[in-house]
Amino acid sequence: MAATQQPQQMQQSQARELSSDQQHALSALDSLRALDSDRAKIATGYEALRTSSIVWIAIVFGLLTFTYWLMPQAWFNRFNLPWNPLWLVAALLAMSLLLLIAATMLNSRRQGIAPQWQMPKLVMRSRRYQLALVAHFFVNFIPPILALAVGYATTAWWSAVAVTLIGAVINGVMEAWEFDETVRALKQHTAPEPSHLDSSAEAHHDLG
């Protein structure tokens, strides 16, 4: 009698142990899923700032591109101004910087999150974000070089408008790409897939 009871008790104790382990694993999984869900919630709020962020970046970098166009004009004093035109370039550079800082602070205030020098680790690890960042870095050189060359070649007003628009559009598109990849990375699920939990649950069910 005792000999038949012993394996039964062992089986029951194993089942209890498995059940307890499983409960711990499920609880841990729930915790990890809650972290994913909170992160995604903030990312959704961040997504609401997409248009305003892109517009700000386009304005700032459009202004910067115009400043590059103005540099050769100022250097050769082509507008025959009575004062040193390089001051105008310096003023525009300062204005661009101030606008960028204002946009960053405004976004930070609206979101309730302090500005970060670096994107969260999760975003930095994303291959798609890295690709957008590298592309943005290289494309970034196109508007200034183009603006300097055009500014050197002509003083026509439409050339200033054209390079400003090119600078604004290129940087706006790049910002949109980076922004989308940032949101995508923040919304990704990092909690592991519970496949082994499902199979052990089935095994446990069989034991019962």
């Binding site: 382990d21 711990h24 694993a25 841990a28 999984l29 915790s31 990890l32 809650a34 972290l35 909170d38 992160r39 919630k41 903030i42 205030r109 979101q111 309730g112 999150i113 302090a114 970060q116 969260p120 999760l122 923040l186 909690a191 592991p192 519970p194 082994h196 939990l197 052990s200």
Partner: protein, 103 residues
Amino acid sequence: MTSDNPQPVFNEIIHAPIRLRICGLLDTYGTMRFDVLRDTLEISDATCSKHLKTLTEHDYIQLDKKASEGGKAYKVTWVRLTREGKQAFQSHVAALRQIVAGQ
């Protein structure tokens, strides 16, 4: 410094659901305003304060009270993880992953 592969260490203080979620948000987003944390977690002022107090007592977070903009009388609280907090949180998440993986 926090490493990319933290040692899994289960932390009872951080494991409480609200505290874990607070640390998770701060680990990703850096410094956050009190009201944003409270609203994201959908908890009351008192609950949020209570959990922040516990985390502060263990030196896992730092609270900075700054004057609000517009010359209003109240102060705005900004919350951020300390280096110890970041390490403890990341080690705890590693421990949770280990539990889920059945190791």
